[in-house]
Subunit: 190 residues, 2 copies
């Protein structure tokens, strides 16, 4: 059982909270402007990329030692043709730079809100992929998701966030063009 | 019915040929050193990235007007930690620069040889994703794959090869670590 604090109660924040609750964890939410206190072991930044950066910049001390999960897909939403993070890095790595004493994990950016809520990507079980330089953080996340209804795989070091973000970006462009549905996408088949 | 010439008869070349044959197309192969003649409408570079670059450099005239399919995943196979193409571009875009008068398509880099041969990613139908700036080329490819046993989706402009290559790279790292099998991977669920 982990204590989990989720910044943001949008579709993604709610879906991630639902998954963690089924996993038997204690979930609380922080809205924009709420005092940053009583943070859980796992802190999920379920906000847009620019807001995640602002939270990281403003709260390095409060987030020391925490598992900080970055779920963002840092698209340029004007063009839908590129990411706003420079090529050769990732949103997660940018956040890690701001939070050197936190255990930053990239996760939940490859799952749409609907596929988290239903635990299904099309007809297949939804899988959360996580990248982090902290094996301990990934093990804690894997344990918290064990009975949640979603599967979990370790996608490697935090650098793999570059791939996870391109994966999430591609998936979003396909859904935006209605090539796939927002309840579909890329399912992980072992 | 399209005439298809495949450079390279390795696992991927053979699997791609098998798929195109079932689609009712005429498939021929070129091995290293064979004279470059009687090329089909679709030319598949089923060779490693460095060899694909060499073929493009040596044969811009023979490839004028052809649909040239780049299937490569340009990994650094020493480190398995990055791609050898610079961040902010893709193998497919590099090849397009060498072949400005060809219709370059990125495709088949997100499907392992085994999932092409079986037409299944785990339990799901295998899907070929294609990116190109030529809609005509993508339509020709879609038609050639219609009865092949694999599904097809249009992944957008050639620039999306950046995402397809990161997708393929991630999938390969997961298979190399045995997190997934080489007969599994990412299935497209509509």
């Amino acid at each position: 059982m982990a204590a989990i604090t989720i910044f943001g109660k949008g579709n993604m924040g709610q879906a991630i909270g639902d998954v963690f609750k089924q996993g038997g964890n204690e979930v609380s939410y922080l809205d924009n402007g709420d005092p940053i206190k009583n943070l859980g072991d796992i802190v999920v930044l379920a906000v847009p990329y620019s807001a995640a950066i602002s939270i990281a910049k403003a709260n390095p001390t409060a987030l020391v030692g925490k598992i900080v999960i970055d779920i963002t897909n840092p698209l340029n939403f004007d063009s839908w043709d590129d990411l706003v993070v420079p090529a050769g890095t990732s949103a997660a790595e940018q956040i890690k730079q701001l939070l050197p004493d936190s255990k930053v994990v990239k996760a939940f950016n490859t799952t749409f809100a609907a596929t988290l809520m239903s635990r299904k990507v099309g007809g297949q079980q939804t899988t959360v992929m996580a990248a982090s330089d902290s094996d301990e953080a990934k093990e804690t996340l894997a344990t918290a998701l064990k009975d949640s209804g979603v599967a979990y795989i370790d996608a490697g070091a935090l650098k793999r966030a570059r791939e996870l973000e391109r994966f999430g970006f591609l998936q979003m462009t396909l859904a935006a063009k209605e090539t796939i549905g927002w309840d579909g996408g890329f399912a992980v088949e072992k």
